[in-house]
Amino acid sequence: MAGNMPKRVKWRKAQKGRIKGNATRGNTVAYGDFGLQSLEPGRVTSRHIEAGRVAATHFLQREGRIYIRIFPHKPITKKPLEVRMGTGKGEVDIWTAEVKPGTVMFEVGGGVSEELAKAALLRVAHKLPVKTRFVARRHGL
């Protein structure tokens, strides 16, 4: 199993569940200046996150800073190929982050210009399984 996953868990396997509603937390740019926001619900796997991180780091070289705001907490199991049904739940295959519409998944900061941040986050967006949009930090009142 490649990629990021929790160090310790209470239960090895989880139920499937449904991704309902919109993000009510983590839906604003908090650490950087620009962000990539999900427009639809979906499961972002640890591989997607890692691919996005590599794409952005490679593009930005040593400029700026990348913040990853999601973490793959949820294990997804899978039965092996050509196995009959039954005999219990399959083994954990991947770890995913459940993302709701509005979740800011990646952020770029550290004095990076808007054009550069947009180009970097576009490369991240191409690696993700959900529709996204580019957002900028909003100033307080």
């Binding site: 868990v9 239960w11 004095g111 100033h139 009142l141």
Partner: protein, 215 residues
């Protein structure tokens, strides 16, 4: 400070459907409260309000029934994507009253410490200040051109306009230049040899350690 003019009208219909009808007309439902008076419903021009927010205005002059009154924008609620405003809270204030607001902090200049391998980070982007309504600055500009490596600008060092008092901790860091974190790792992270392929399960005792277990 710039006071933006916003067109508005009195709002008599309340509830979700009435507000949806307003939004379809390019208006935004808003409420005016404060000074111990009863809250009052109004509808604002969305275009005017968005222009005011883009110019970082805190105060608007609401033109309603041919009369313009100044109000403080207390809160703006956005939709689930934090994109479109859906409701606005306005507060009645006296022009001489002191109010608490957040003012945007803008950094100006390129720090000298960047040449020495430093990285500029802004820790406070919006500063809590107390001032008279008409003294609210649109933005606080901080010159960081002189910042060397491992130097920082604290809240107490900010040059605030007359009558403006910072509410944040005087020792809080606004911006700093620190040695850049080297992020050498661009290649995908591979699992470390010897690291477990699965996370540790809390509360589960390893089989071989279970006392009294028969093989």
């Amino acid at each position: 400070m710039e006071i933006a003019n916003v067109k508005g009208e009195a709002r008599t219909d309340h509830g979700r459907h009435a507000n949806d009808r307003l939004r379809r007309r390019g208006m935004l439902p808003a409420v005016i409260y404060g000074h111990g008076e009863a809250p009052e419903g109004v509808a604002l021009s969305r275009r005017d309000l968005e222009q005011a927010l883009a110019r970082l205005s805190h105060v608007i002059a609401l033109e309603c029934d041919g009369k313009a009154t100044q109000y403080l924008i207390k809160d703006v609620q956005y939709d689930h994507l934090q994109k479109d405003p859906v409701h606005v809270d306005l507060m009645r204030v006296d022009p001489n009253e002191r109010v608490h607001v957040k003012v945007t902090v803008e950094l100006k200049g390129t720090p000298a410490g960047l040449k020495a391998g430093g990285e500029l980070s802004q820790l406070i982007t919006d500063l809590d200040v107390e001032c008279r309504l008409l003294d609210i600055p649109s933005v606080i500009v901080v010159n960081v051109a002189d910042l060397e490596l491992n130097q920082a600008v604290r809240v107490r060092e900010l040059q605030l306009p007359d009558g403006v008092k910072a509410l944040a901790d005087a020792d809080a860091t606004v911006a700093q230049v620190k040695l850049k974190r080297i992020v050498a790792e661009v290649a995908p992270s591979v699992p470390v040899e010897g690291a477990p392929a699965e996370p540790e399960v809390i509360g589960r005792v390893a089989k071989e350690e279970t006392p009294g277990e028969k093989d």
